[in-house]
């Protein structure tokens, strides 16, 4: 059996781990996978799925570039009668899935919510915050930022003031520069919400360089990458959110194979996010 896997972006750390989990699992099962990189481009991803159809694969797994493009992808697979499983990103057309299609993943908003709730608790509901956003317009950036903002509106956390929010394009160096620009402009946050770990690490580097004690700021990321876990252990990072790449990777491959073989399967397989703190970090060090 051959499964086509259309990933949104190869450069992303978390997605790399996810990809490797799919590959590993496929090897164990003796299934052949063909990976494609859409480089963040919806149209390219669409073409890749069409190319899979033309190449006659037995099933397709896709990590969407954007949730809203789900409908177009669903149509292509439906017309060709090929099973399609969306992994990680929740497609906008989840409720109207045709047959032979499913979603395996975790809800972006949950990540932001877990992060914000924990930070709010650590900060005792008050402080000056900044938000480091991912690349503007991406589903992760929107979902996670929206969840953080929602949590901060709640009564328990409404004393946390957001001083500014800017994008650092998911990357470490831009986050480093952004944070430095903030501190020199008189924005001295005690709380940093970062849409992912890389940006959190950039912020940490900047704050350390300007002599801020890491105990004085609370910093949260998402993804639980190896770098982030190390930072968490060192006490620099305060919280991150684990998204089970293993669960999603294996789940998506299992689901698509089930559909392809005509076995029964769920259309919605939710794999929850998990909060990672210094207390439980050891458990995750070997997970991703």
């Amino acid at each position: 059996e051959t499964i086509g896997v259309a990933m949104s972006l190869f450069d992303d750390n978390y997605l790399t781990v996810l990809r490797h989990n799919i590959e590993r699992h496929a090897k164990d099962l003796g299934v052949e996978v063909q990976m494609e990189d859409a480089q963040g481009d919806i149209a390219r991803q669409q073409s890749q799925i069409e190319n899979f159809v033309a190449a006659g694969v037995d099933g397709i797994i896709t990590m969407l570039v954007d949730a809203d493009s789900g409908r177009a992808m669903s149509k292509i697979a439906e017309n060709a009668g090929i099973p399609l499983v969306f992994v990680n990103m929740l497609p906008a057309n989840m409720d109207t899935f045709p047959e032979k299609q499913a979603w395996v993943g975790s809800d972006e908003e949950q990540a932001g919510e877990l992060q914000a709730t924990e930070i709010c608790k650590l900060a005792a509901g008050k402080g000056d915050a900044v938000i480091l956003m991912g690349q503007l317009g991406t589903t992760g950036q929107r979902g996670r930022t929206a969840a953080v903002e929602r949590v901060l509106k709640s009564d328990a956390c409404k004393d946390i003031k957001v001083l500014d929010q800017q994008t650092a394009n998911w990357m470490r160096t831009p986050a480093l520069d952004l944070m430095t620009n903030w501190t020199t402009s008189g924005i001295k946050p005690t709380i940093v919400f970062a849409n992912n770990d890389e940006m959190a690490l950039g912020a940490i580097q900047s704050l350390k360089a300007s002599g801020v004690a890491m105990d004085d700021v609370i910093i949260g990321g998402v993804d639980a990458t190896q770098d982030a876990l190390a930072a968490l252990e060192a006490g620099d990072l305060d919280v991150t959110v684990y998204q089970s790449a293993k669960g999603q990777g294996e789940g998506s491959l299992d689901t698509v194979l089930k559909i392809a073989r005509g076995e029964k399967s769920e259309q919605r397989v939710a794999i929850p996010f998990e909060l990672v703190t210094p207390e439980n970090v050891a458990k995750y060090k070997s997970s991703n």
Binding site: Q39, D41, Q46, A54, A72
Partner: protein, 337 residues
């Protein structure tokens, strides 16, 4: 002077020099894929009509852009803004193509509009972006690279700002239909034919080549160089707008990240097809072939299950190899006479 005689060149050589060259490159690449197909996959690469359609379908948007970009390059300029203009026009056109079945991203009070309205809005916006590019270049004299780089950043910014990053989705059926089936291919080929004729047989075309060959001489020959440049950039912008509409219709969604790097693919298609970046030389037919070569690569890689990690490396090498081959074949042709 009676004995003034140059050896007459073979007459065939005159008609399609660059295009024939690049056509053989195209055939060469296709044959390599075909051969590998039989060896590696045990099936024909070209023998699958569905694949052939998809091959062109997936590059038709880049192709539409490339036709405009080719004209800009012939004038000796460059257009880096096309990819961003695709995003901007896709977003804005889509906001007028949504139906009331879903919540509208912008203009909640809007009634459902016929598809032609968002299409014209998209194409019109592209036209305006192109006019701004052209006017900047022609009137202020700044290099096209910078003017269109500015537009690239600005248009992308507008695309993001328009809905604060939110994508806009679920257009009306009629709007989506121009992106479905073989429509994008048809639009691409129609545009190609129109501008092939325009460049070869009209004054517009002759002036375009003249400006690229020697702008000063063009002015002295009575051409209004500034006005003409505005026209050429306007057309390139308009085609980018059209490409934006087609992409949005095809994906049934518009988002700010769309069309990223398309400008480079479009320029690559034009140059692979024999358009000279120093201006004055190039043909639409060549650009179409260049575009198809890009499509061929994308399909071929998936077909041959080339590891995605290698795809980019191989793609880079093929682009360079195609142009090198072309350059050498032209040199060889010149040698042979």
């Amino acid at each position: 002077m009676e004995n003034v005689q140059a050896q007459p060149a073979s007459p065939t050589r005159r008609k399609l020099p660059q295009e024939l060259n690049i056509l053989t490159v195209l055939i060469g690449v296709a044959l390599v894929f075909e051969l590998l197909g039989w060896f590696v996959q045990g099936q024909s690469f070209l023998g699958n009509p569905q694949r052939l359609t998809i091959m062109i379908l997936q590059v038709s948007v880049v192709g539409i852009i490339a036709i405009g970009v080719t004209q800009v390059i012939i004038t000796g300029g460059i257009d880096l803004s096309s990819g961003s203009v695709v995003a901007m026009t896709a977003m804005i056109a889509m906001s007028f193509a949504q139906t009331s079945d879903f919540a509208r991203a912008i203009y909640p009070g809007l009634t459902d509009l016929p598809a032609i309205v968002p299409i014209l809005i998209g194409v019109g916006l592209g036209l305006i972006a192109g006019i701004v590019n052209g006017a900047l270049i022609a009137l202020t004299g700044i290099p096209p690279f910078i003017a269109t780089l500015g537009m690239m950043v600005t248009a992308r910014g507008i695309a993001k700002w328009y809905t604060k990053g939110q994508p806009i989705s679920f257009p009306s059926e009629s709007f989506a239909s121009i992106g479905s089936g073989a429509w994008p291919v048809a639009i691409f080929l129609l545009v190609a034919v129109i501008f092939h004729v325009a460049l070869r047989y009209t004054r517009y075309g002759k002036f375009t080549y003249a400006i690229g060959a020697n702008a000063q001489a063009a002015r002295v020959s009575g051409i209004n160089v500034q006005a003409h440049l505005v026209k050429v950039y306007a057309i390139a912008g308009m085609l980018a707008g059209l490409a934006g509409v087609v992409t949005a219709a095809r994906a049934e969604t518009a988002q700010a990240g769309m069309g990223m790097m398309y400008e480079l693919d479009a320029i690559a298609a034009a140059v692979i097809g024999g358009t000279s970046l120093s201006g004055g030389r190039g043909r639409i037919f060549g650009t179409v072939i260049g575009t198809v070569i890009l499509g061929l690569m994308m399909s071929g890689f998936t077909f041959l299950r080339v590891d995605a990690y290698y795809q980019e490396i191989v793609k880079g090498l093929i682009i360079v190899a195609a142009v090198v081959t072309d350059v050498y074949r032209q040199k060889a042709r010149v040698k042979k006479g």
